[in-house]
Symmetry: C3
């Protein structure tokens, strides 16, 4: 088919894309060979470990606490994020395919980066991995996938690989600062995943501003069935968000409570998103953009406080507010960002991730600061807020301050890191599409010729079977200009 | 786009829909604030509770017994029910979007209603909630979603909110009568969910009969891809039904057996649904309506007896019969209901839920009545049939009688409740669509203009890119009449 | 609509399909009645069993170890395999519908066949079943579904039922030889599922070679949205493959390690599949066929060695190589097979299942042969390689030899069995489609008339609502020729 007639830019990635894939994958193999080993619970020595630690049953293996949640998170990463972005009429291959590519690369790099920071054993110089590392790697990748949403349709797959490489790296560092140095709690990642990922993507998108993007306007919208595919993404994200926020929470009540709070918060988001969406149209019609995105804001915002004793009605209040804020964002803030701040945010990650993530961080700070022994119990307070070991003397109020500081760190990392990565992506070697060629799968994909895109007079004749062959050929010529 | 040319009815929901969403969501927050708290297993005091009750491991938290099943049920409610109803060519947004809305509202109201009836602690005047309440809330909502299937395309979202409000309320009451007062067993809800929900929807649909619905006939059917979206719903319902029927069954063998029985029954349904579907066409072609629906009848019918010792071949027999009955329903009963009883049942809930649910209730009664200590063991008999505590003296035969009575209660609640709700919905304030405007997303949704719906002569010209802008405008005028 | 104009073959299955469904389903019921009972963990006597065996908690019921994995496997079988094959523009109903039919039949027959070989109790002459049998039945069916991929679009549903009947039978026998007699390890089925299923399908397809298949060439390809539906299948297979390979692995570290290894191997496959796909096109564009299929090769190849101590980087290497090999297969081997070997492999099962499965078997043999006590621990070595009981004296090297032999047995069973079944399918009684009628849902399905397939001049007039009825009728006549 060749590129779209009239496009001037070189979007050929035949050398760069395979080169990046091969070099990075080989690097992964080498680094895994040097550093990564099974941990005690995934190693064949588990039987001996069990005896040595008086573990009575295989069911105590962390696998059984976390694997069902891991699989739900995995679905969110690949089907959830992937299909959520398929709403564009002619960028569904790119949405789901590039999401697949960068997530598969990113999770390997995440296991290494997070391993060096969190699971590194200095005695043996090895990273020991198990099911929790798999969940954390998926989480880490989510930050870069969020950023993908801001630049959807405007970058090449090679650029996305760069976004993922730096995104995972930055994530591991900010996560280390927030969770280890500041000792914040953030089981569902309002701060480290959503606030970071959202601002990371916004900063990249701001640097990559395209003044002539309106030339691709015909493709920057949905059709009926692309909106339905996007709903698959929305619903799998929405349904499995309780698993996302509870996957690495404390065993027992921690996981239980995080799932319950998230379930409630998400339900409230749906009602307020629908309400604001309906209010915004003269006849009260609903807008699919809001239903696909703003309904999820309650899950984002419960990432930090989901494991806290925020109370069931507290969860509903958070979801209530975030559904409103997120929908207002789609109505007013995204157009404002584009026209005034020169920031083109394809999926509206500002409204779904950046702001609800930031709010979730501050809600977590408030809930932590107001925690008390009467509500949590003595043991519950220290284990839930992590006030154990060398942090045993930290008061809930102080912890709340650190939580707020952690949110700011995540935002700062996103903005500064995204700015730098954006500049790197401006180097004209990455094969990104021309302004009149964005949001179009034709650029990076072999797109099948749909019957319905054949000019209809030919299509009509097509029904006369005996003429089929010749006509196909002539329709092909027309398509080629 | 405005409403469809020629429609007389006022379908503007710009005030009513946001008002209902806001008022009800705020009511939920207030009521949750007054009544709902974490239970012992989701509260931060779990550590103390564990010690006090000699629970040795976090894995004994009910969360780990039930959460994987909960997530499967959650998928059935939102993706399963939602996508199953996307089969209509131009009502997919409404199917999946309104399903999302009323389920998200309904589950909150369900936690309250079921909490007052089942989990209310009179000492503290609180409802204590955990994972089992989440599952039960999803179950409760299912009753109203089934009813949605009967009136799909013919009501406004505000009416659906009313259907859910009353549906959940009625469900909680009938469930209290059936499970608590009559002390029936119904882990998978053949009676309380499917028989109730099915007859509830049928009664509403009967009251809302539209003699001129044929005016919307052009939209009351599927296209190729809408049938494929519906298959997503079918398959997720079919695959996860074993989780549905086992989610709140007894720990251990109860959950194990319910999953196994449902798995087998569903498999048999597929074969008989295919057989009858093929027999019904002159050349043996299959009808997607049957494949999408009747294959699920075996799961509905195992809701009550799934946890009983019905035996593997007993499960196959139930699935075998229900696949036949359900397909015959689609072939003969639905047309009969419409032409003779003036009952327009869009999705055929009569054949998928009402009748298989009722049969499932009676199968459960028979299996319970024939239970014996030799088959169940002494302990197994009392725990499986619930013949414990103040019901220890009830014989299996008597229990069977109560099960049959419970089925009748569920049907009665559905019919009477549905009749009343139908009358409420006839009040002309709800913004429902006109007869020539049913099954059309245009009424309540901002629908993107698909390329293929542009009149083809214009579409052809459209391929000449330089004329695009002006032509779009003129096509717009034509669409507007 | 009747059959396609010009087709000569009799594709009427109105008698044969219902007959096969009814007779086989009734046979299942009778055989289940004679042979199948609940096992100790799904029987109501579980409470007594628990006491007798000093099992302290219900959570030790095998259900809780395996049920979450079972549900993931179930999704792979029905949504994964079903939707993966929906890529053809007009065979999506057949892909997902026939997959549904033969899987639902096959799993019943599998429980019997595998039960007779593996779970048969000679004392009582009964097969006792529980969650592991459900997983194994799904696995067994997978072999036949793989074969379906090779003959997709070219056979009738009755022929597919025959493929499943013999496929399950052959599977149970080869599995008995490989796992019991040769005492191989193959938890994820590289050998018994993928190598067998792949060569079984290839042999059938070879026997059923159609020299004039080019007459259906217009339908042997995808359209934009059918490729998106196929991605649903791809992603659910990809995401849940860790559950597939770990579902019946040893409790504890076995399941944990199998999931981790598969997760890594699959990630590497994605990068190399993308790289080779991009290299193969002049401008570096990606081909959906490769993304949909070759990304999965790493999961297939880890089926045997997933539970071994292959090391994390070993898993990456396997995925790396198989992604390359599989994509090369799609680029060069499939066209070669068709032009030179007269083998028409619709889905390319040669590249996704046959070769990666065979490689997985040999990788497993090598990893087993090089196992040592220092790596596995004494206890870990014997339990992981199964060198227990009467096989306690077998060395890892010998075990490796048996693993290699097992792979050859699987391939031999596939080739010989497939050849025989292919000959059976050549008998002209099965209602298979004519050469110009393949890949077309019209043959076996009531296909809704899409708006876009109505000849466009009529479609245009259609927009004038008042003429609708008469025009529909006339368009109908044209369709009928």
């Amino acid at each position: 088919m060749g590129n779209f007639c009239g496009s001037q830019k070189n979007t050929n990635v035949r050398i760069s894309l395979p080169a990046v894939c091969f070099v990075w994958q080989i690097a992964m193999i080498v680094l895994f060979g040097v550093f990564v080993r099974y941990n005690e619970e995934s190693d064949a020595h588990w039987g001996e470990h069990k005896k040595a630690h008086n573990i009575t049953s295989d069911i105590e293996n962390d696998f059984y606490y976390r694997y069902p949640s891991f699989q739900d998170v995995h679905v969110m990463i690949f089907v959830g994020f992937g299909f959520l972005m398929t709403f564009l009429k002619r960028y569904s291959f790119g949405a789901v395919g590039f999401n697949f590519l960068i997530a598969a690369f990113g999770l390997q790099w995440a296991i290494l980066m997070q391993g060096w920071f969190h699971s590194f054993d200095y005695a043996t110089a090895k990273i020991y991995v198990g099911v929790e590392n798999m969940i954390n790697a998926d989480f880490c990748v989510a930050g870069s996938l969020i950023a993908f949403g801001g630049i959807l349709g405007k970058v090449s797959p090679v650029q996305l690989m760069v976004v993922a490489l730096f995104g995972v790296t930055l994530y591991a560092v900010e996560e280390y600062i927030i969770l280890t140095l500041l000792h914040c709690r953030d089981a569902g990642g309002s701060m480290v995943i959503h606030a970071f990922g959202g601002y990371y993507g916004l900063a990249i998108s701001w640097v990559l501003y395209r003044p002539n993007l309106h030339q691709s306007k015909r493709l920057n919208g949905s059709v009926y069935h692309s909106d339905m595919f996007a709903m698959i993404g929305t619903l799998f994200l929405w349904m499995f968000w309780p698993s996302f926020n509870s996957a690495i929470a404390n065993h027992g009540d921690g996981q239980h409570r995080a799932a319950l709070n998230t379930y409630l918060s998400l339900a409230a988001s749906v009602l307020t998103a629908v309400a604001i969406s309906s209010m915004s149209q003269k006849t009260g019609k609903l807008d699919m953009v809001h239903i696909q995105n703003a309904t999820l804001a309650g899950g984002v915002a419960m990432g930090t406080s989901g494991e806290f004793m925020i109370t069931p009605y507290g969860s509903l209040i958070v979801g209530f507010c975030c559904g409103i804020i997120s929908t207002f964002g789609y109505l007013f803030v995204t157009p404002f960002l584009e026209s005034k701040l020169k920031l083109q945010d394809t999926c509206g990650i500002h409204n779904l991730h950046a702001v609800p993530g930031m709010l979730g961080g501050f809600v977590g700070a408030i809930v932590a600061a107001t925690a008390s022994e009467s509500v949590y119990g003595k043991e519950g307070l220290s284990s839930t807020l992590g006030l154990e070991g060398s942090f045993a003397n930290r008061s809930p109020g102080t912890q709340g301050g650190y939580q707020a500081a952690g949110t700011c760190v995540a935002i700062a990392f996103g903005l500064v890191g995204g700015g730098i990565v954006g500049l790197i992506l401006k180097i004209p070697i990455w094969g990104d599409p021309a302004d009149d060629n964005c949001f179009d799968d034709e650029v990076y994909w072999e797109v099948p010729e749909d019957e319905e895109t054949i000019p209809p007079v030919l299509e009509y004749n097509n029904h006369m079977r005996h003429k089929q062959q010749e006509l196909s050929a002539s329709s092909f010529n027309i398509e080629q200009c």
